[in-house]
Symmetry: C2
Subunit: 333 residues, 2 copies
C-alpha cells in the first residue's frame, strides 16, 4: 500500500480534507460542514472532520496506508488545541493517527509559500499576522478580536461604515455615499420625517444593528470597498491600510522574507489591496491560495517528505481542479 497523509482545513462554515501521497499527489478530497470546536461545539466539529476524512479516503479508494493526519483550525497552534480532548475524540472516531492539530494561520501561510521562513497577513472578518520561522508559527500580531484589536479587518471597516452612516444622519458627520447603502443593507431608506431634529430612519437603523451580534457589522465592509472614491470611505480604507501595515511592520521590521496575503478583503481585485500594495512596495508579496493546500504541505513536512516549490505548485493546482461545488454529503461526486 502507498504511504499517504491526511490534511484537514477545519473552518467556521465548512471543513475540507485531502488524502495526499508522499510525493504530493492528491488522491482524494472530501467536504463537510463547520469544523471549529469553539464556534460549533466539539461534537459537531468532530463529526464534520470525520465525515470530510471519510469522503476523501473513499474517493482515493481506501488503498493507502495513512502515516499521519494533520488538522488546521483557528485557535490551534504548535500542538495546543482550542478545546481539550479534541485529538482523542478524533482518533476514537477513526481519524488515522498520529494526529496533530495546528493553526490556520500556518495553513494560510503555506497555501502561498513553501518557504520555512516568511510571514502571513490574513484579513477577513478579523485581522491577524504571523511570522513563520523554521516552519513553525514563531510570532503572532493582533488577531485580538473585534472589541480589542483586529485593526483594519472586515469588522473594523464595517463598524466604521455604520458609524459614518449614523453620524451623517445625526448631522455630526460628513455626508457620505455610504449612508444609503448601509440603510439598504437593513432594508431601510431615508424618508423626510424627522424626530427631535433627526431623520426618523435613524431610530430603526440603530434598532436593527443592536438587534444583531456586533461581529455582523463586518457585512458592511464590502460597501466601503465599493466606494473607494467617496471621501469618507477613502479615509476608512486609508485607516485600515495603515493599521494593517503597522501590524506587519511590528512583526517583520525589515526582515526580507516572503509575505503571504490571505483573506477575502485583500484579494487582488479589492480597493484595500491597492492601498496595501503601495505600502508594502519593496516586500516580496505572495497571494494565498487554498488553505487545504497549505495544510497538505504541512502534513508532508511533518513526515519529512519533500515539500518544495514544485510540490507546492502541484498541490495548489490539483486542489484547484478538485474543488468543484459538491452537495453537503458529496452526493454529486
Amino acid at each position: 500500500m502507498v504511504p499517504a497523509v491526511i490534511a484537514v482545513d477545519a473552518g467556521g462554515t465548512s471543513t475540507r480534507a485531502a488524502v495526499v501521497g508522499l510525493t504530493g499527489d492528491v488522491l482524494g478530497v472530501g467536504r463537510a460542514g463547520a469544523g471549529n470546536p469553539i464556534s460549533s461545539g466539539v461534537e459537531l466539529a468532530t463529526a464534520n472532520v470525520v465525515e470530510a476524512c471519510r469522503q476523501a479516503l473513499a474517493q482515493s479508494g481506501n488503498s493507502e496506508r495513512i502515516v499521519s493526519s494533520l488538522v488546521t483550525m483557528a485557535g490551534g497552534a504548535n500542538g495546543s488545541t482550542p478545546t481539550d480532548g479534541l485529538v482523542a475524540r478524533l482518533i476514537d472516531s477513526g481519524v488515522p493517527g498520529p494526529l496533530a492539530i495546528d493553526s490556520d494561520v500556518l495553513s494560510a501561510y503555506f497555501s502561498g509559500s513553501p518557504a520555512s521562513e516568511g510571514a502571513v497577513l490574513i484579513v477577513g472578518t478579523g485581522a491577524v499576522a504571523g511570522r513563520i520561522s523554521d516552519g513553525l508559527l514563531a510570532r503572532v500580531a493582533d488577531g485580538l478580536g473585534w472589541l480589542l484589536g483586529d485593526a483594519g479587518s472586515g469588522f473594523w471597516i464595517g463598524r466604521r461604515a455604520a458609524i459614518a452612516a449614523a453620524a451623517d444622519l445625526d448631522g455630526r458627520g460628513e455626508p457620505t455615499a455610504l449612508t444609503d447603502d448601509v440603510l439598504a443593507e437593513y432594508g431601510l431608506s431615508r424618508g423626510r420625517r424627522k424626530r427631535t431634529g433627526r431623520p426618523e430612519v435613524l431610530s430603526p437603523l440603530v434598532h436593527e444593528i443592536y438587534g444583531r451580534r456586533p461581529i455582523e457589522l463586518a457585512r458592511l465592509a464590502p460597501i466601503v470597498l465599493r466606494h473607494p472614491d467617496d471621501p469618507v470611505a477613502s479615509l476608512i480604507l486609508e485607516g485600515a491600510a495603515n493599521a494593517l501595515t503597522n501590524t506587519i511592520t511590528s512583526l517583520l521590521g525589515d526582515d526580507d522574507v516572503p509575505l503571504v496575503l490571505a483573506g477575502g478583503l485583500i484579494g487582488p481585485a479589492s480597493a484595500l489591496h491597492d492601498r496595501m500594495s503601495q505600502r508594502l512596495a519593496g516586500r516580496h508579496c505572495l497571494t494565498a491560495t487554498d488553505g487545504l493546500a497549505g495544510a497538505a504541505l504541512m502534513a508532508l513536512r511533518r513526515v519529512g517528505a519533500e515539500a518544495n516549490q514544485a510540490v507546492h505548485a502541484r498541490l495548489v493546482a490539483a486542489l484547484a481542479a478538485r474543488t468543484l461545488p459538491v452537495g453537503p454529503l458529496g452526493a454529486s461526486r
Copy 2:
C-alpha cells in the same frame, strides 16, 4: 390642603422622588432602587417609582393635594415612554395623576439652568447632547450607544484604554502607563513569560474582557483620566474632547444659549473638563446639579407655576440638603 407636584428621577440604579409645593418648597423626598423599565423590566421599575413616591409623600405628612406628577428617565421624551403601558401601570399603582413621562436629558438640563432656551451635554458611560427650545427637547445629537456612537463617552475612552494596553503588549502600539493599570483592573500583572512572541498575560486579559459585556469597558475610563500626561492617554483625551465638541457644535452652531455640562466624566475636577473648557471658551457653560432638581423644575413648569432662577436655586439647595445617604427603605430618616 396645599397644592403640590411630585417629581421623580428614575435611573438605572436608583430612583428618587420629591414632593414640591407650587412655590418651590421641597416637602418630602424618597428613594428606591432601579427605575428604568428598559434595563430593569417594567414591573420592578414601577415598584421602585411607586416606593420612592410613597416615601416622599410620607415624609411630607401626606398633607398636600398633588396636582401633577412627572417622571424623567432615559428613553422618555415629550410624552413618549420607553415601554408601553408604563403610565397606566403607575396610575393603577397609586401615583397621583395627571402623570407624564419625559426625558432624563431634559432633567439634566434643568438641573443646571431654568432657562427655556439652552443646551445640555451629558458625558457618562454614554454621551448625548440636547437642544432645549421653549422648554422642550427640540433636537438631540448622538446618544446612539456604544457600538454606533456615544463619541467621547466613558465607554469610548475606556475601550481605547483597553485597545492601547492590548496593542502595547502586542508590540503594535506605543508603550503606555495605561497598560499596568488596565491589567490591574482585571487582577493581572505583566510577567516575563511569552507565547508566540507576546507576553503571556495578553491571553488572560483578552479572556477577561470578552467574558464581560462590552459596555463594562467604561470602567477603564478613570484610568485614562488619572494619566493625563501619558502621551497615549493624552491622545485619547484629546480625541474625546474633539468628538464631544463636534457633537455640541453640530447641535448648537453659534447659538448663544447656556450650555449645561452633566455627567461624572466632565465634572470640574476631571482631566476631560480642562480640555472641554478650552474648546468651549466663549460659550456660557453651567454645571448640572441633581437630576431630581431638574425634574422638579419641569414639574412646576408643567402646571404653570413660577420656575425662575430663584426657584431653581432654592430647589437645588433644598435637595442638596436632603440627599444624605439613607437606607434602602429610608429607615434612617
